[in-house]
Structure formats: C-alpha cells, structure tokens
C-alpha cells in the first residue's frame, strides 16, 4: 500500500519530466555556446527575425571547461567561441568542422593582421571574433616611474600591490618573454629559469586573478598588473588614472574566435550567422555595445569617434608587431602546470 503511493509519486514525476523534455519549437535553432554577454542582444534578435530562426545562447566561463565538455561529447552546439590556443587544441583533437567560406563572403572584411593566424593556417576552422594583447596596466597615482618593461613588476616599491593573471601559460610566458625567449618555450632550462625568476616576484603579488582583475584595479587594490588590452580600456573608463602599455619585450596576443563543432547539425546556419555578424553595420553595432576590439576593417566608418580613438581597443601597428601568439607546447604543458602549482602554493 505504502509502496504503491511512492511508486505513484515517482511515476508522476517521471511524467512531468517527459512532458518537459517534449516541448520544443518547430523553427530551426542555432545553438550558440560562448562567453556570457558576448553579443549585443538586439543584434541577435535581428538575426532571429531576419532568418526566421531561434537562437539558443548558452555560456561557459573558460576555455578548459569548453574543451572538457565538447570532448566528452557534450553539446549539440552549432557555434562555439574558443580562444586562439584552444582552436589549435581542438583542431588537433579533431573536434572542429572546416568552414565553408562560400557561405561567409564577408570574411574579406577581416583585417589582414587577423587572417591566416599561426594557430589555424588559412582560417580553415576559425575566424577571429575579437582580440587583445596582454600588457601592463598601472595606476599613475601610485606608480610614478615610467613603465615600459616586464622588469618593472619586480620593482620592490610595488610590493604587495602586484596583480597577476591566474593563468600558467600567460604568466610563465610573460617571464619567458622578459628573459628574451618565446612565450611558448618548450626548453626545460628556459622554463625553469623563468619560474625561478617568478619566485622572486611572488612576495610582491597581492592576488592571482583573471576575471576580477578589472575590479581590483578600478578599486585601487592593486597598483600594477598584467592585464588584457580590452580590459585595460574598461578599467580606464572607470578609473582614468590607470594607464596601459605593451612592454618593450613584447606581450602575448590572444583572440576569441568563431568555430563550428564537428557534430553540429546546423552548420550552414552557423556560417550564415558568422557572415551576418561580419556585415559592417551589424559589426559596428555589436562591438560598440560589447566594447571589445572589432577586427572588421569595413566597419570602421560605422563606429563612433570615441570607439575609433580608444587606443587600448585599437592597438598601434608598432604595439602589435611586438606580440606573439601562445603556441601549443604539447606535453610540456605538464611541466608548466606543475611549476604553476608550485608557485601558487608557495612550496
């Protein structure tokens, strides 16, 4: 008797589940998997109207989460936005579908700098969405010296006020650059020396942070930090005392890109979407709203003057020439990870 009731309850719940799973619309859907708030909402809504489709927009918080999920077969996603090194990894692991450029005529609008990147030759699998350079942001209220080198982070005057990105490749890569090596060195001796150097920086470090480094700079908790150029622009808008520089040794350039997972069921629609986003007017509207750098040269006339004059969004050719992409370090990644754990745990 008692069991009957339980069974009935469980059955009822199962039925609710069945109903919930059954609902869906007949329109074609484009399943986007990206960073949060990465598109202007109106731009997406316009696409839905124009093509009579529905967009599902789900979010991930970092590249590694994205990879783990796609690799384990999670998804049903049609369009994803991995960063540069992650595109390389996903290509190697055979997770991406080659793009059909015939469906993306607007690809020609992309600035040459961002075409044919080292992580994806000929843009076979990916097209850049936005990009930036890791440099130094510093608060001129507290930092009186002229900053032009990574070496300046080691200045004892800033003890306890240095913020670093919470990312092993970025920070070890920075120390490698400081020593004049490639940021993606696979030479054990170079990496070891860079880590030893970083150990001297540790006592100065206030915190490791990637997502909230902006808040920490705006609030003046930190004085000097390794920061992405796009974030530096956001910081400077709220705290005009903060300046940004690409050090003379050069910095790491990164990009977020459009890519299509291999098992996508709506590849053509995804390509139409990319093409739509690369339309000059749409592009201008989108990037004005999200505030990141726009690689679309044709969109320049449609952008506001303020946007075009922001030099943290539009880095100079000189600055860009000093940058290097993070390359794949294959199994040396294990060494990077171990050293990073050592550094952060102070052991």
């Amino acid at each position: 008797m008692k069991k009957m009731k339980w069974a009935g309850l469980v059955l009822a719940v199962m039925m609710v589940l069945a109903v919930l799973s059954g609902c869906g619309s007949s329109k074609e859907t484009l399943n986007i998997y990206s960073w949060a708030d990465n598109f202007d909402a109106d731009v997406l809504a316009d696409f839905e109207k124009q093509y009579d489709v529905k967009i599902n927009y789900d979010v991930f918080a970092n590249n590694e989460d994205l990879l783990a999920k796609i690799k384990a077969g999670g998804g049903g996603y049609d369009l994803i936005q991995p960063s540069d090194y992650m595109v390389a990894t996903m290509i190697k692991q055979d997770l991406l579908a080659p793009l059909n450029k015939d469906n993306i005529p607007n690809f020609t609008n992309i600035a040459d700098t961002y075409k044919n990147p080292s992580f994806d030759p000929d843009n076979k699998y990916s097209i850049v969405y936005t990009s930036g350079v890791t440099g130094i942001a510093y608060n001129t209220k507290y930092v009186k010296d002229e900053i032009d080198s990574w070496e300046d982070l080691w200045n004892p005057e800033y003890k306890g006020k240095v913020l670093l990105l919470d990312d092993n490749r970025e920070i070890i890569g920075m120390a490698l650059k400081k020593a004049g090596h490639s940021n993606s060195s696979t030479a054990e001796a170079e990496i070891t020396a860079a880590v030893e150097d970083l150990k001297n920086l540790l006592p100065s470090v206030l915190a490791f942070d990637t997502d909230n480094i902006k808040q920490k700079m705006i609030q003046e908790e930190g004085w000097i930090a390794t920061v992405w150029s796009g974030d530096a622009s956001v910081i400077a808008k709220d705290n005009p005392d903060v300046a940004y520089v690409v050090p003379k040794e050069g910095g790491t350039i990164w990009s977020d890109n459009y890519a299509i997972p291999k098992d996508s069921k709506h590849q053509e629609l995804a390509e139409k979407f990319i093409n739509y986003m690369l339309d000059p007017e749409v592009s201008a509207k989108n990037y004005e709203s999200i505030g990141y750098s726009d690689p679309n040269t044709a969109a320049k006339p449609f952008h506001s003057e303020e946007y075009n004059n922001d030099r943290m969004i539009n880095l100079s050719q000189d600055e860009l020439s000093r940058t290097e992409w993070l390359g794949d370090v294959s199994d040396m990644l294990q060494l990077y990870d171990r050293f990073w754990t050592e550094l952060k745990s102070g052991r």
Partner: protein, 268 residues
C-alpha cells in the same frame, strides 16, 4: 516545555545573525545602486529591477533553475527518506554498505561527479538538457536528505511504532500517524538543503547541461568575466522576498487548517 536561555547565548545568537546578514544587507543595498560596478555608492535606482525583467537570459535561467530544483527536491526527498527509514531494519552488513554508498555523493568532488556523469550520459546516448541536470541533482541531494533524516531517526524510539503495530495499525497507518510526524522536521530540513543545493550548484550542472538548459549559477559564473551585473543582486533580493513570503504563507495556511495544534512548516 520552555527552558530559559542564558543571556550570553542570546548575545551570541544576535552576533551570529549580524555576521550572517551584513553581507546580505550589502547585496540588497547594491541592487539599488545606480553604478554598474559593485563599487562605490552612486545613487538610488530601480533600473536593475526593470532591466532584470526584460533580460530574457536571466529569466530563462531562473525558470530552468526552479524547475530543476523543485523536481529534484521532490524525488530526492522521497528516495532519501525511504532509504533512511528502511536502513534501520536491515542487517548490519547491508547497513554499512548502503550507508557508505549514500555518503559517497557528498564526498565525491563536484567536478568528478559532473564529468563522470557526462561520460555516462554520453555512453547511454542521452541528450543533455534539463533531464540530465535533474538526474544529477537527485543523485547528490538524495544523500543529504538521507543524512539529515537519519539524524532525526537515530534519536527516535522504536517503541511507538511497535505499539502502533501491536494495536493493529497497518504499515502505511503506522508511517502516516506515528513515524512521519516524528521525522517531519528532519524531512523538511533535508528537503530545504536539497532545494538550496540544487539552486546553487554550478560544477555538476555545467557538465551535464545542454542547449537551452542554462541554470542561474551557470549564467552567473559565465558573467564573472565581464563583471556580475547588479541585475543579479536585484534577483537575489527578489528571491529572498519570495522565499520569506512563501514560508510565512505556508505557515499561515497550515496553522489555519490544523486549528488546535500548532504546526510548523519548517523544521520547527
């Protein structure tokens, strides 16, 4: 029986409440702050509440979260309670084995639970979505319900149940009129923990979610990169209001129905 509390205990409890509520007061205050950054106070506004209701993503995420939380709480409360009651009467070896098994979901790191379930669902060819999230949440919530209800059952005397059965009560009647009233506070505590764990879970949900099943925590974690919008503070404030209202409404209805005996919805 009413026992007197020592005044020092009262002061301690008051301080604890201050400790718990100071950060929350801040969250509520900042939901009215006109600056987008959770930084300095720059003026009073209702804007975040207005834009919150216009934000399709937040609303979808909220409705997904509530659906998942409600269904997984109901199922896990039933299963967890059933397990806690049944385990008392089995032999000690089964007891040890089952008890250990029921502790596992609490101990296993979230990421393991999420990833391993993702691999499993993939092998079973189950499409990812709300259903897979619900299954995952039931799996861990069940253990919390079991643990809390067990706590309640440990102290409970078996004599009453035996007496009821001696007097000819069936299994169901014994449960309904003798056991249930005694363990109800435990069940409700367990269900509350299950509900809130489900509402707050990020890691497990992240891995087993699919298109259009983004829950509120997944949305909020995703937002961290660009700075969490004060809309989320506004949402938290509303959730607090709703929860308090619901609890008191339920209390009111229950008390009216039961006339003479004072009943309580919460574990009290």
């Amino acid at each position: 029986m009413k026992s007197k509390n020592h005044p020092l205990l009262g002061i301690h409890s008051l301080l604890m409440m201050v400790f718990i509520y100071v950060p929350i007061a801040f969250i509520i205050a900042y939901s009215f702050n006109s600056s987008r950054l959770a930084a300095d106070w720059s003026g009073f506004t209702f804007d975040w509440y207005i834009s919150l209701f216009k934000n399709r993503h937040v609303m979808e995420a909220l409705s997904n979260s509530l659906t998942v939380a409600i269904i997984s709480t109901v199922v896990s409360t039933v299963l967890g309670t059933l397990a806690a009651m049944s385990i008392r009467k089995v032999n000690s070896r089964t007891k040890a084995g089952m008890g250990g098994l029921l502790y596992l979901p609490i101990i296993i790191p979230d990421i393991i639970m999420g990833l391993s379930l993702l691999v499993l669902f993939n092998q079973l060819n189950m499409p990812l979505g709300k259903i897979t999230i619900i299954i995952a949440h039931i799996t861990f919530s069940m253990s919390y319900v079991y643990v809390v209800v067990s706590t309640r059952l440990t102290g409970m005397k078996g004599q009453l149940e035996e007496a009821a059965q001696d007097l000819g009560a069936g299994a169901w009647q014994t449960f309904r009129y003798v056991t249930l009233p005694q363990i109800l506070p435990g069940i409700i505590s367990g269900a509350l923990i299950a509900f809130t764990l489900s509402l707050d879970d990020f890691m497990v949900s992240f891995f087993v979610s699919g298109p259009s099943s983004t829950t509120l925590p997944i949305y909020i974690y995703g937002q961290v990169k660009r700075g969490i919008s004060p809309e989320i503070n506004a949402l938290c404030t509303i959730l607090i209001l709703v929860s308090v209202t619901l609890i008191f409404l339920a209390q009111f209805i229950l008390n009216r129905g039961k006339g003479q005996k004072k009943q309580s919805v919460l574990p009290f």
